[in-house]
Symmetry: C2
DNA sequence: CTCCCTAAGAGACGGAACGTCTCTCAAGGC
DNA sequence: GCCTTGAGAGACGTTCCGTCTCTTAGGGAG
């Protein structure tokens, strides 16, 4: 028998891992606090002591799973086109990892971390554009905000609305047919 | 005492009205089959005989509430810009009417009426562009599909992600800064 | 080293809503 | 006027919620 009792950060990491595993096993809709507690071999109270409800737990589990924010590693390939594509690929990858039902579930039950998502992508694109302007690829980094976040907005739309995973073709279409033409003639 | 027993279409309309009223009263998250049944002064079985679950009932109630599809009345103002703006205003209006939590709830619990939404908007935009081409406003109606649904995709993204209702400024920005420049130079 | 406070672990609990079922009796077709 | 259908009503077992209580292990304070 396991006779050691987990505590503090070690326990918390176990709980978040259990939540993530449960998420993969049964999906967001069927994820229950009881299920997570059972998987972590503990009681519900231990969960409720840390997170007020399912949504908070799941958000914490997602954050725990994928380390830092996307703003921490902005792609820098030396080409605007490749940088933007890299950003979009990162988003697509996260979608694949997380799964659509989780996205919808969190969207439905969460109050407001959506603004945060917007802000992060705007930061990332700002950096990408500033570098492109510094290289002389585009005349100025002073692109209208709506155009700046156009690629990430479109990808987000695909993630939320489409059931199939994003294809590379979709990403290049967004960049080559829509984004680049608009910024090139700023 | 009410001694008449409702039947068929009349009853169904009452049920859908009750579902809609309940939706407005308590929101999607708190809507229950029992609540709707009570409001319609009937039993749960009457609901389950027609719809398998909450999501189906709510979708039916939404459809019942707002008559036909948007494809039935495509705006025809004589100007491409105004037509597109009219389409986007219709979407914004529906958002205001329906409410964001309902959008998220349905998105989370529904299997696949999302493709349908895509198709309808693509039809609408096809008509709008064909008329514009016939008037000579644009060289050809043969616009790449992704550009065609660009305005509606962006508005949908705003509806799903932003909590505040869409402003007129946002709509004109989408049309004037993004959509028109892209279609004008075919 | 020992005491003691905090929180882990375990489960009982009342409540809400689910979806199924059973039963009676009105309505409307034949 | 008979008979099939399904409306109306509520009981039922189940699942999960979020709260609570109780015992006991861990680890810091002295």
């Amino acid at each position: 028998m396991e006779n050691t009792r987990r505590r503090g950060a070690a326990l918390e990491a176990d709980l978040l891992d259990a939540a993530w595993t449960e998420l993969q096993a049964v999906g967001y809709a069927r994820l229950t606090m009881e299920g997570v507690a059972a998987r972590a071999r503990t009681g519900k109270q231990v969960l409720y002591r840390r997170w007020a409800n399912r949504a908070e737990l799941v958000v914490a589990a997602l954050r725990h799973r994928q380390g830092g924010s996307m703003a921490d590693q902005v792609p820098d390939t030396g080409s605007l086109r490749e940088d933007v594509l890299a950003v979009l690929r990162q988003m697509a990858e996260r979608q694949r990892d997380i799964g659509q039902d989780v996205v919808h579930g969190v969207l439905a039950e969460i109050g407001e971390p959506r603004v945060e998502v917007f802000e992060i992508m705007r930061e990332v694109m700002t950096t990408v554009l500033e570098r492109a302007a510094a290289r002389g690829e585009i005349p100025t980094a002073d692109v209208p905000p709506r155009i700046m976040t156009l690629p990430t907005d479109l990808v987000r739309n695909e993630i939320v609305m489409r059931s199939e995973p994003l294809t590379e073709a979709t990403l290049t279409e967004i960049v080559d047919e829509i984004f680049l033409p608009l910024v090139r003639r700023g």
